[in-house]
């Protein structure tokens, strides 16, 4: 009943009951697979395998982005004119799926996924020319300066100010939860440019060079001991007014546009199906603690059914989008379900690992580490994944914020 890892690798490919992938896409899949086999070095694969949060080892991710860029696949979601691949929605899905299955590392994606679409929509020609090439090549690493110590879910209350002085803004304040700021050379920020209007109406969107005098980056450890998060301080930081994205005071509109762009573009089930594969392997492993638990197989099966339901929902959303139906808070629905299901998988995995998940060996997470480990590598990464999974229902709009959006925009409450 519970079969081999190879079988599972096969199994977690797209199961789409309503729209089987056309055969010409299977040719496409084969070409992606062939490329990945060639391009992914053992070290890059180790970086992928040892990824325990959104981010892989930074240098490995960066190397991978430059390889993809050289192949012309640096940003498949982007339009052709800016370096996109011209793939259809299914091909893009296949690409992501195959990268995940082959354990490719994750590059830092804030530039490609978040800033890129906003630049293309709101940027001046000069801004596009200046910034898009560096984003897609990975030469520029962007971080996102939205949250502040006093402004989490209530983002519009943000207090970092930008006052116009000649043709420069002078920025003062602080940003927090700035992932990868310590590796970034640029930051895109929401700043307050008008204090005398309602909060959303006084915000602007600024692109800031991290090398500008007055910026300090203070990294801090997450619960798993790894450093991904930072606080960034701005003290009289002078930013050219030409780095304003969109109109002054229209920053909220710029940031909200990204939500539209993201809608339906989320693929939680690719990652979740990979997790299901790990759960099946845990059940097949005679040394796993899952063998002592009579409820384990049932809980995994129910989780698999929930993943199937989410996958079919993601496909329904894609169908709706191509039919022009962009209503409803669909991304909230998918975000809540996808992250909570990921957390459930992570819980099941540490249960199967038992005490073997307890050794805390952060050096094992480095892709160049090939030495001894106190427990199997998969156990070591399992606990870090579990610990980090708690953040998934907090970042990018908490599960409570998402439920509020659904209540307001879908149920009309």
């Amino acid at each position: 009943m519970f079969s081999s890892a190879e079988h599972w690798t096969e199994r977690i490919r797209t199961v789409n009951a309503s729209n089987p992938i056309p055969t010409d896409h299977e040719t496409f899949r084969a070409s992606i697979r062939a490329f990945l086999k060639e391009a992914l070095t053992p070290e890059l694969v180790r970086a992928g395998e040892r990824t325990t949060s959104v981010f892989s080892d930074f240098e490995a991710g960066r190397r991978w982005q430059s390889i993809l860029h050289a192949k012309g696949w640096g940003a498949p979601e982007w339009p052709m004119e800016h370096g996109g691949t011209g793939w259809d929605i299914q091909q893009r899905y296949i690409f992501l799926e195959e990268c995940k299955l082959a354990n490719a590392p994750n590059p830092v994606m804030m530039g490609i996924q978040m800033l890129g679409p906003m630049l293309m929509h709101f940027g001046t020609e000069a801004q596009k020319t200046q910034f898009l090439p560096g984003i897609i090549s990975g030469d520029d690493v962007w971080c996102q300066g939205y949250s502040e110590p006093g402004s989490g879910s209530d983002l519009a209350s943000l207090k970092t100010t930008a006052d116009l002085d000649g043709d420069e803004y002078v920025v003062n304040g602080t940003k927090i939860w700035t992932s990868m700021a310590h590796h970034s050379n640029w930051i895109f920020c929401l700043v307050r440019t008008d204090k005398n209007v309602k909060p959303q109406a006084g915000i602007s969107f600024l692109l800031i060079d991290m090398a500008t005098p007055g910026i300090t980056v203070a990294p801090f450890s997450s619960l798993d001991g790894e450093v991904e998060q930072c606080q960034v301080f701005f003290e009289n930081v002078r930013v050219p007014a030409a780095n304003l994205l969109g109109e002054e005071h229209q920053g909220w509109t710029v940031a909200k546009y990204l939500l539209e762009f993201e809608r339906g573009g989320q693929h939680f089930t690719i990652e979740l199906k990979k997790q299901l594969g790990k759960l099946q392997r845990a059940m097949a492993n005679p040394n796993s603690r899952a063998v002592d638990d009579p409820t384990y197989a049932y809980r995994v099966a129910e989780t698999e059914i929930d993943v199937m339901a989410l996958e079919q929902t993601e496909l329904r959303i894609k169908g709706s989008l191509s039919a022009g139906d962009n209503s409803g808070a669909l991304s909230s629905l998918v975000k809540v379900s996808g992250t909570e299901l990921g957390q459930r998988c992570a819980e099941l995995l540490i249960e199967a690992a038992g005490q073997s998940a307890m050794p805390w060996q952060s050096e094992v997470l480095a892709p160049d580490y090939t030495g001894d480990t106190a427990a199997p590598t998969e156990s070591v990464t399992t606990m870090a994944e579990y610990i980090n999974s708690r953040a998934t229902t907090i970042y990018g709009g908490t599960a409570e914020i998402q439920r509020g959006i659904i209540a307001k925009h879908v149920l009309g409450l």
Partner: protein, 367 residues
């Protein structure tokens, strides 16, 4: 979020919804059930005239030859409007059993016209599994002797014929038994979901032409019947679940306590958001199960079981939450929401439970 329906499916759904909205009033339903009328012959005739009963019948036998997706559209509406006539019961028996029998040519047109109302009789009071009946079919000099008893046949009181699952020397058999035949002793009782249930004892001799299927074809039909029943009961559960959610949202917008509508309280808003999220996820899986069945996908049986597990889990929690969020009024018989809860509860164990579906899901490898 669209459900990807064809033009024909949209027409079917719109017409059926319009009919039920106009002609299936909840209060009239309540009065009718109070008088002991669980299935309204006029409604059944109307269903026949609208082509609903011909839906699962092949075109060569006067039917519409439609698929699982279309049957699920009607099933969902049955849940939404609390239809007590045995529509999914008759559709499953017709499609999976009668429709593959030798007698299809003579029987199917009668089903489509509404004259023959078939319901499958599977459950027994004392047997280890629903799949191994103690009821026997034995060949004798006089003909085929059917002996045994079937219990708790949902809406059985509305059937003209039962398709009875029995054990024969050649394996399983499906036997068509008129409920009015000599040697059939039936006991009727009302059920919590407003239907007329039935227990039956059989001690009669039948002509060979009453045997619909025997041996491997009978086993195959049982599998097809159960798979279809899981999908359609999930769809009916979905319809009732969505209706319970809608009723709750409407009610909490109107009900004022502490000087404000209940819907303004965040604790309740988030619970209703959860109800919506789970209902939509369930919908996706059920439609996928329908499409898998209609495209003869290798994983069709697996999808049906997944849908059953999900719909049962979500139907139960959403309908329980619907009662809780309403408060006292939902515990009264005259308010609609408790009736969704009761129908969902009845469907939980009809043909297959969540646990049985989960076990079977786990035993099926994906393609």
């Amino acid at each position: 979020m669209s459900a990807h329906m064809t033009e024909d499916q949209t027409l079917l759904q719109d017409a059926a919804e319009r009919y039920l909205r106009d002609s299936y009033d909840f209060n009239q339903r309540r009065e009718r059930i109070a008088e002991g009328v669980y299935s309204d012959p006029n409604q059944w005739q109307a269903f026949a005239e609208m082509g609903w009963l011909a839906l699962p019948v092949d075109e060569e036998f006067g039917g519409l030859g439609m698929g699982t997706r279309e049957m699920a559209i009607l099933a969902e509406l049955c849940g939404q409007f609390l239809v007590t006539e045995p529509l999914i019961d008759a559709m499953t028996s017709t499609h999976a059993i009668i429709g593959v029998s030798q007698q299809q040519q003579s029987l199917l047109p009668r089903v489509a016209e509404g004259e023959l109302i078939p319901i499958a009789a599977i459950d027994e009071a004392e047997t280890a599994s629903r799949l191994t009946p103690a009821t026997t079919l034995t060949q004798t000099d006089e003909g085929w002797h059917l002996s045994g008893a079937k219990h708790w046949i949902s809406a059985g009181a509305s059937a003209t014929h039962l398709t009875v699952l029995a054990q024969s020397a050649d394996g399983l058999a499906w036997v068509l038994v008129p409920t009015a035949a000599n040697g059939v002793k039936c006991e009727h009782f009302p059920t919590h979901d407003g239907r007329g249930g039935m227990n039956c004892q059989f001690d009669l001799v039948l002509e060979a032409d009453h045997i619909l299927l025997q041996g491997q074809p009978a086993s195959d039909a049982l599998e097809a019947y159960r798979t279809l029943a899981m999908t359609l009961s999930s769809a009916e559960t979905l319809g009732a679940t969505q209706a319970a959610l809608n009723t709750t949202v409407d009610y909490t917008k109107q009900r004022v306590q502490f000087g404000q509508p209940l819907a303004s309280f965040q604790a309740l808003q988030h619970r209703m958001s959860n109800m919506l999220i789970q209902t939509e996820l369930t919908r996706s899986l059920i439609y996928a199960a329908c499409n898998a069945a209609d495209s003869a996908h290798d994983d069709a049986a697996r999808f049906a079981r997944a849908a059953k597990v999900k719909a049962t889990t979500v139907g139960r929690s959403v309908s329980q939450e619907a009662i809780q969020l309403h408060g006292g009024i939902a515990t009264t018989d005259e308010y609609i929401v408790g009736h969704f809860f009761k129908r969902i509860t009845a469907l939980e164990s009809w043909v297959c439970s969540k646990g049985e579906a989960l076990k079977e899901f786990m035993a099926l490898s994906p393609s």
